[in-house]
Symmetry: C3
Subunit: 139 residues, 3 copies
């Protein structure tokens, strides 16, 4: 069994951002030498997501509006978590909807993707250094 472990680092300019990381993951799959296996990609922070969807700006705007509706950032006093001095309770909820991780098949040495699948890092409490873990196993 082969394996590869890598950590991607993000430090976004904005509180919330979606970043397409597909090409970075594809490169790591190539490096790993794995032809048949699984690739786990997960946020290592609990106010961020890794998810798969379309790379379309309008859709990302819809996600942003929708998440803000169901887990609004303000008023921050609406959340008991924010009594700890944080203001990011909404980010914990948003990340829960979008998901912590994806598991992607590797077939014939490549990410085995449908026509529109792209991997995104979803930041909901940015402007500081955060990491994503990539773990590849297979043969």
């Amino acid at each position: 069994m082969k394996s590869l472990t890598e950590y991607l680092v993000f430090n976004t300019a904005n509180r919330r951002e979606f970043i397409n990381i597909t090409s970075q993951i594809e490169e790591l799959v190539g490096e790993s030498g794995v032809k048949e296996g699984l690739c786990l990609v997960n946020a290592m922070h609990i106010t961020a997501s890794v998810f798969i969807n379309d790379d379309e700006k309008g859709l990302h705007h819809d996600f942003e509006t929708w998440l803000e509706k169901f887990a609004p950032h303000e008023p921050v006093s609406n959340y008991r978590h924010n009594l700890t001095g944080e203001d990011n309770a909404d980010a914990h909820l948003k990340r829960t909807i979008m998901g912590r991780e994806v598991v992607v098949a590797i077939t014939a040495g490549k990410l085995d993707f449908g026509p529109w699948e792209q991997i995104f890092y979803g930041e909901f409490d940015g402007r500081r250094r955060k990491r994503v873990l990539v773990k590849i196993i297979g043969e």
Copy 2:
């Protein structure tokens, strides 16, 4: 390490449907010869889901009503994504709640399931050909 890769094809009569695919996945686990391992099942399209829940018609009706409440199909003009000419922005959001993928344990050559766990394909923008990926690895 053994592995198996298979693609299931769906073309639903309706825009939205839930289809129980458990027996198809069980068959593939048998074919794979894997006794101990993992089975990934994921939608390859970004307006569809694979999820695990109960095979109970009333519950499926509740899911449908609930998803429509939180991500209504209409008015389609409510979504910026639909400016691209699509009318399926709601399907991207519904799939996000229901999930892209499941990872299931294989133990002693079978899906290691609780008493009510069943695997479903969740279609939110059907009436066209779409695929599900099954990837099994183990020994």
Copy 3:
């Protein structure tokens, strides 16, 4: 390839509870002897979750309030699933938001976690015996 399969049993005093199971999973990773691999942890019941987030009481209160808002337990007659004689349709929906499973990387014989990641069992229809599956594969 090495593998380990274990079943954790829960029988909560309350209908809804969040239980930190991180140390139990860490012990099983140690027992497995796996140095590089993947660890799947999933609820085996369809009204319970396994998820990763912060071990902070205020946040757990926020999750509880938020889930109850989007999938209220009462009136139970609001859900067609409850016509079966069950009163747990809300628990199926809550578990869908929180997720069935997590897949965690094992690196150098340990759960490869960010600073605040903790694994929780999320019960939404407790007061009876329910199980969580832990499957570890790797080398």
